[in-house]
């Protein structure tokens, strides 16, 4: 095998090494920490390019496995693999990661925990890259957990803020619930296939032998084993990728710094769930010989994705926080990716993932730039007219917004979303996902236009500048900027924005139907033939119309008249206040969870505490009293019984001795007397003895 396959493990190892060294550095060595992270990421990017070149020449999966743990006569093996899916993800993650690292040096410049931030970022990068290259479900799970851990650490980076700490805890616990399903699926797979490696020269879990075995065996409700295991692993993906009902952590995760939101909660970590499904797609799509409909697993994936897409889009319409809008948008787009995976296969889903990574990262970094420029303001009602003050940010943000909305033909988002809509339209099971996806696309264009109008157009409503002043909000960087003029961000922040904007535009051309290089690369075809399927142009036209309609509606409601003041209610809010409130609170799901699961958990914890404090503590106390009682009895026996016995015996011996000593008077005549008496006795005895 080529050298790169052997050393593809360096790609996650270098950032992890950087994280390890940064962990040992003191807080004041900021430049070395940032430098380490960036250099390691750049090196990983270079290696990822080499890996990409290797995968270009040889699209079949190349693996490097080694045995890790031996118990009895079974061995657990780990390994890494290089195939088109891996290569594409590696390039995307390292590139976007590198750009965001560079951006962070400017964004976090005034933060005193700079070193810790870069340590965690590097650790996250290492974990994410490990997930990508893992050839073993176990190694993937281990890196999955590292990614979850660093997400917790980074969301709660400003841990003194109670909201941030609570958000971090929520993220970790929610993803953990999904990971439980993942773990059960992993164990079940091992039990059935006796291996956790994906590709292992024919013995792997995703290779023909195991998959066909799993596809024909059925378990409960006639579900094939492959679907059942796939659904369990999908639970993990649901947690990480924020599918309904485990999506609740994503909006709250915006408490973390903006680069964290961009990297983790837009481009990479949330995409890990989609990547996982793409990875185990052979398992999820395997069906028995006679069956032709898509498997139950893929159908579930599609429906969950559809619900999530619509959910995210409707809630995003009614949000005020600039980052929250983007968060719900991410939830919605992740739903799209799942739809793509379910109806069209890994190529369709991954294409949208890659394009989404770029433009969502762009949007988040742009939002960060806006927040930075407005000295920490995050409410879009208090912004406005920023295109005059921050032109570069406006330009790049606009490109991102167009990409997300799916503006026809020129942006990558259009091509990837179109691929999804096309596959959904041709899904054999139902047309409903197609309609849901279309509605979602309309809403996406609508709320993005709304956001852009609020933020960049109209007049400046910032407190101190706008018509009505409000009290200072407490968000990210009111600490270091006074309430001055909104200003453009420094070059170290705008340069990544520009680069990402370029890719948001250009990447789409990798997957157009005329030249579907991306899809064929992922599917392993060497030939790149233009697709001539029926309905292709019709779908393209339909999605263009939907996008333009959404943008038009948004401009109609928000762009035509500029919004006057901060407290002016939203147009929709005025029209339908109840519906608006429901959407704003995200269908009150958080409140429902709090009243049910959280309350149950608290009640169980209280019960356990009572049990511990009274029952177990009582038992321990009782035992200790028992022991004390025994000790007291023992001492009593020792003092009064044993001692008494000994005392009386020595006293009697002593008295006997004293009595005997009284015989020795020390006076000789007494001794003589005794001798005389003894003589008398002797003679008497002899006499009587003789006389008898």
């Amino acid at each position: 095998m080529t050298w790169i396959v052997r050393y593809v493990c360096l790609i996650p190892a270098l950032p992890m090494l950087a994280a390890g060294i940064s962990a040992l550095l003191p807080q004041r060595s900021r430049k070395p920490a940032a430098g380490l992270a960036i250099v390691s990421m750049a090196a990983s990017f270079a290696l990822a390019l080499c890996a990409f070149a290797a995968a270009l020449s040889n699209p079949s999966p190349q693996v490097f496995n080694f045995s890790w743990l031996q118990f009895g006569d079974q061995t657990l093996a780990l390994g890494w693999l290089l195939d088109p899916l891996t290569a594409v993800m590696l390039v995307m993650v390292t590139f976007v990661g590198l750009l965001i690292f560079i951006y962070s040096t400017g964004y976090m410049e005034h933060d005193e925990n700079f070193t810790r931030f870069f340590c965690f970022l590097a650790l996250f990068a290492g974990g994410m890259l490990g997930v990508i290259i893992a050839n073993s479900l176990l190694l993937l799970f281990m890196c999955w957990e590292i990614v979850g851990l660093t997400s917790y650490l980074l969301i709660g980076f400003w841990y003194q803020n109670p909201r941030a700490a609570a958000a971090a805890k929520k993220a970790f616990i929610t993803t953990r619930i999904g990971d439980l399903g993942f773990l059960i699926g992993m164990v079940w797979l091992y039990a059935q296939a006796h291996t956790l490696l994906f590709y292992d020269s024919g013995r792997g879990a995703l290779e023909a032998g195991a998959v066909s075995h799993l596809a024909v065996t059925t378990t409960i409700y006639g579900l094939t084993l492959s679907s059942a295991i796939g659904l369990l692993i999908f639970c993990g993906a649901m947690g990480k990728s924020g599918q309904v009902p485990l999506h609740v952590w994503l909006p709250d995760a915006m408490e973390g710094p903006t680069p964290v939101s961009a990297l983790i909660h837009a481009a990479t970590m949330v995409a890990a769930g989609v990547f996982l499904i793409a990875r185990i797609y052979p398992l999820m799509s395997a069906h028995g010989v006679e069956v032709v409909t898509p498997t139950i697993a893929l159908q579930v994936v599609t429906w969950v994705g559809a619900i999530t897409a619509l959910f995210g889009a409707t809630v995003a319409v009614a949000q005020w926080d600039i980052k929250r809008i983007l968060a719900y948008s991410t939830v919605s787009q992740l739903g799209y990716m799942m739809i793509g995976l379910g109806v069209g296969g890994p190529a369709v889903g991954m294409f949208h993932l890659i394009t989404h990574a770029f433009f969502k990262a762009l949007l988040f970094l742009g939002a960060g730039s806006v927040i930075h420029g407005c000295s920490g303001e995050q409410d879009i009602r208090r912004m406005g007219g920023l295109r005059k003050y921050m032109p570069l940010t406006f330009l790049t943000y606009g490109i991102g917004m167009l990409a997300l909305s799916g503006f026809p033909l020129v942006v990558s988002g259009f091509w990837s979303k179109d691929a999804i809509l096309y596959s959904a339209h041709h899904w054999s099971v139902s047309q409903l996902p197609f309609y849901i996806a279309s509605l979602g696309a309309l809403l996406t264009a609508f709320y993005m236009t709304r956001q852009v109008c609020y933020v960049f157009f109209g007049t400046l409503r910032l407190p101190g500048h706008g018509p009505v002043s409000h009290s200072e909000p407490d968000s990210e960087d009111t600490r270091h900027h006074g309430a001055g003029h909104p200003h453009e961000s420094p070059a170290v922040m705008t340069a990544p924005l520009a680069i990402l904007a370029f890719f948001a535009f250009a990447l789409g051309f990798l997957g157009t139907p005329l030249w579907p290089w991306f899809q064929s690369f992922l599917n392993g075809d060497h030939s790149v033939a233009a697709e001539h399927e029926p309905g292709l142009v019709a779908t393209m036209a339909a999605s263009s119309v939907i996008a333009l309609l959404g943008i038009f509606l948004g401009w109609l409601l928000y762009g035509r008249q500029s919004i006057a003041t901060c407290e002016a209610p939203d147009v929709l809010e005025r029209a339908q206040p109840q519906t608006f409130r429901v959407l704003h609170q995200a269908y009150f799901i958080d409140a429902i969870y709090d009243a049910t699961f959280v309350r149950l958990t608290r009640w169980t914890a209280k019960l356990a505490d009572l049990l511990d404090r009274f029952l177990f503590h009582g038992i321990v106390q009782a035992i200790s009293f028992g022991v004390l009682g025994l000790a007291w009895v023992d001492s009593f026996v020792d003092n009064y019984v044993v001692n008494f016995g000994f005392d009386s015996s020595w006293r009697s011996i002593s008295m006997g001795g004293r009595a005997m000593a009284a015989l020795q008077g020390g006076r000789v005549q007494a001794y003589l007397r005794y001798i005389g008496l003894a003589l008398v006795a002797l003679v008497l005895y002899l006499l009587w003895g003789v006389a008898r």
């Binding site: 020795q664 008077g665 006076r667 003589l672 005389g676």
Partner: protein
Amino acid sequence: MTGLQAYLLLSSLLFAIGLAGALTRRNAILVLIGIELMLNAANINFIAFWHYGPATTYITGVMFAIFSISVAAAEAAVGLAIIVAAYRHSHTIDLDSMNSLKG
């Protein structure tokens, strides 16, 4: 009462008187004298038995009496020397006060 019995009775009486003196006198020297008297009583016994014995050519009794006399003399000498030494130590020969070896 035969002659032998008379001599024996006499020697018993002498012995008892000597014993009485040894047991009752305070002066240590007189206790020693009592013991000498007891030895003398035994000598009388020896000679009496020799005289009234089977044949006086067997002079065992006489020999025994001679040896007894010599031993008694030696013992008297040593005993009196001890008493003198004891007197030098404690300036008394009162036996009632010599009880430092009591138990």
